[in-house]
């Protein structure tokens, strides 16, 4: 049963080590402490964004505003953190609250307003993106050194980025997802009607999922801020669709109700590392999109062995 649940994540589970080995053959130093830090920092933001996306996908929704929320958090954090411990702490708290509230707002509109998630979050993509520009009209701002190094440096051989990610998984994701509330999020995505007649609070489950998405996007924004030590309102735009790609690649179906967080997290690192491997292998940037897109196509096609192997059409249609 455990295996059944983790099987969809298998692709990412195998893919990530493979690509790291490939990287290593091109650049042996990648397995040094410094190299580990590069690897960790490179994918952590996308990993968090992918978790944000996954929270919503579990309810059979999709969140197109993830990137905008990452950008908004980055803009707010870099603008208001300042140098003092107090201002930085207050800003971090504010960013997390704003992210959660922004996500929850999406959730309220989706759950109470009964509007398709894709259009709600498309609209809020513009709104949150606009707010980010309002906060920070041009790139700039700064963060305290301790904040930047604290999140992106290494503790011994272990990259802090990885510790941060694991902390988020173990202190935020897993506790919520292994509570009744988390069960109800999965249940709503699995079969919303059944969830309702089983006495689950469907509206609350959805709002919590979207709020979680906002919180995780804010955490992604904070990590990105530490990494870039500055703010840029438009910085998040790439994370929306990449987070969807990571989620699917990580074995979480867009039909919702299934999936383990490990998959999207590993997939996020995989997708982030490809770019570096291309450089290390000396591949011209003109080929970059071909390789990235092509690889994604191959991986997606390879992951569909079930659709191709089942003799029962009804199962194929369900896959």
């Amino acid at each position: 049963m455990i295996l059944t649940r983790y099987r969809p994540a298998l692709l990412a589970l195998i893919g990530l080590p493979l690509i790291i080995i490939l990287y290593w053959t091109q650049q042996p130093l990648i397995l040094s402490s410094f190299g580990a830090r590069i690897l960790a920092n490179q994918g952590t933001t996308l990993a968090l964004a992918a978790m944000a996306q996954m929270a919503v996908v579990l309810t059979r929704g999709v969140d197109l505003s993830v990137g905008a929320m990452v950008g908004l958090s980055n803009a707010i954090a870099a603008t208001y953190m300042g140098d003092s411990l107090t201002s930085a702490t207050l800003t971090i708290i504010a960013v997390l609250l704003i992210g959660t509230a922004a996500g929850a707002l999406n959730g309220v509109i989706v759950a109470v307003g009964r509007i398709q998630p894709i259009i709600v979050t498309l609209a809020s993509l513009y709104i949150y993106g606009g707010l980010a520009l309002l906060v920070l009209p041009e790139p700039g701002g700064s963060v305290p050194d301790w904040f930047a190094t604290g999140l992106t440096d290494s503790t011994g051989p272990v990259p802090n980025g990885l510790i941060f990610l694991l902390a988020v998984i173990f202190l935020v994701w897993l506790p919520i997802m292994s509570s009744r509330l988390g069960r109800s999020i999965y249940a709503v995505g699995d079969n919303e009607g059944a969830a309702y007649v089983s006495g689950l609070n469907v509206v609350r489950a959805k709002i919590v999922a979207y709020a979680m998405s906002g919180l995780l996007a804010a955490l992604a924004g904070l990590f990105l801020t530490a990494q870039t030590t500055s703010g840029d309102a438009t910085i998040g735009s790439g994370y929306t669709l990449n987070s969807v790609a990571a989620v699917v690649f990580g074995g979480v179906p867009l039909m919702g109700g299934r999936g383990v967080v490990l998959g999207p997290v590993l997939a996020a690192y995989f997708l982030s590392i490809i770019v570096s491997v291309l450089f290390a292998a000396g591949i011209s940037p003109f080929y970059q999109s071909v390789v990235q897109g092509g690889l994604l196509i191959i991986v997606l096609a390879a992951g569909s062995y079930r659709a191709l192997s089942s003799p029962n059409w009804l199962q194929v249609l369900r896959a």
Partner: protein, 324 residues
């Protein structure tokens, strides 16, 4: 079962739901009214024609998206499919192919991309949201390689430029083409057995399949239509801008999708139609036009654009029921 679960809807919501297309057109008129009130010049014939011209690009892409979305899918490969098809056609023309051959190749390429998307969706059963996204990335790379890092050829047949922007009977040619394609689309969707199959597939693929409909063929066709309509839009844009250039499709990813959804087509598939998409297209284009010249910062424009889309779907998109 969920259908009955939603039994507590108030009746005004139901009323709006059943007439969502009508509501969309009423809102469109309201929007145009507001635009004219804000700036009387907006109502000038010249401007309305200019807006219609711009709307025809979005509207033609929305044809493909309407088909695809009606089957419950989405096509995110539009931007680079559009760009690549246009570049291909322009290059062929520059290399001495005749206009029919060059344009045919461009549209054929777009259709081929559509077919590739359909393979992923229908055979490999990958969700279109990611498969077409990957296609888009692949096309971007292939486009760069195809032009070998050079600016793409911009030898555009002058007649084409004049035709796209020129008038026939007071209407821009491009808008006329849109009108023809729109009528064709509406007829295909509402009156043909293929249209029926599109709705059936989008409503319940299993039931359609077990009724003897080859749903793979339906997907193939709708994605080919989407690919071809991206290419047609690309060719029109080429005439409009008198050139092809990288990134000419950047604006045409989310806006046509928004147009289709605002027009009342459900992203879950099976309900809606192109009559609504036309209203949606015009609404989005008018909205963008009003905002682009409004003397407020980009931040404000984004917020207002998002807010109005939200308002529109809150008004009548909410009746969309959760279906099993």
């Amino acid at each position: 079962m969920n259908a009955t679960l939603q039994g507590r809807r108030s009746s005004p919501a139901l009323l709006i739901a059943e007439h969502s297309v009508l509501v969309a057109y009423i809102l469109l008129l309201l929007l145009v009214g507001v635009a004219i009130a804000l700036n009387p010049a907006f109502g000038s014939l010249g401007n309305l024609k200019a807006q219609l011209l711009i709307a025809s690009f979005v509207g033609i892409i929305a044809i493909g998206q309407t088909f695809v979305i009606l089957t419950g899918h989405i096509d995110l490969s539009v931007p680079w499919n559009l760009t690549f098809s246009a570049i291909l056609a322009a290059t062929c023309y520059a290399n001495g192919y005749g206009i029919p051959a060059a344009f045919g190749l461009g549209i054929g390429f777009g259709a081929l991309v559509g077919a590739f998307n359909a393979v992923g969706v229908a055979i490999f059963r990958v969700h279109s949201l990611v498969w077409t996204l990957a296609t888009n990335a692949l096309l971007q790379g292939l486009a760069l390689l195809y032009i070998n890092g050079q600016p793409p050829r911009s030898t555009i047949p002058p007649f084409w430029r004049d035709m796209v922007t020129g008038d026939v009977g007071g209407l821009p040619m491009a808008a006329l083409l849109w009108l023809v394609l729109a009528v064709l689309t509406i007829v295909v969707l509402k009156r043909t057995s293929f249209g029926r199959k599109v709705y059936a597939t989008g409503t319940n693929e299993t039931a359609a399949f077990l009724s003897g409909i080859d749903t793979r063929l339906v997907y193939l066709t709708v994605f080919i239509i989407s690919g071809a309509s991206s290419a047609v839009a690309g060719l029109l844009l080429t005439g409009y801008a008198s050139q092809t250039y990288l990134g000419m499709g950047n604006d045409y990813l989310l806006v046509p999708i928004a147009a289709v959804i605002i027009g009342g087509t459900s992203v879950l598939g099976g309900t809606g139609g192109y009559v609504g998409s036309i209203a949606g297209t015009l609404m989005v284009v008018v909205l963008q036009a009003v905002l682009s010249t409004a003397q407020i910062g980009q931040a404000g424009k984004n917020i207002i654009f998002g807010g109005i889309i939200l308002l529109l779907v809150l008004l009548y998109g909410r009746a969309a029921r959760v279906n099993d």
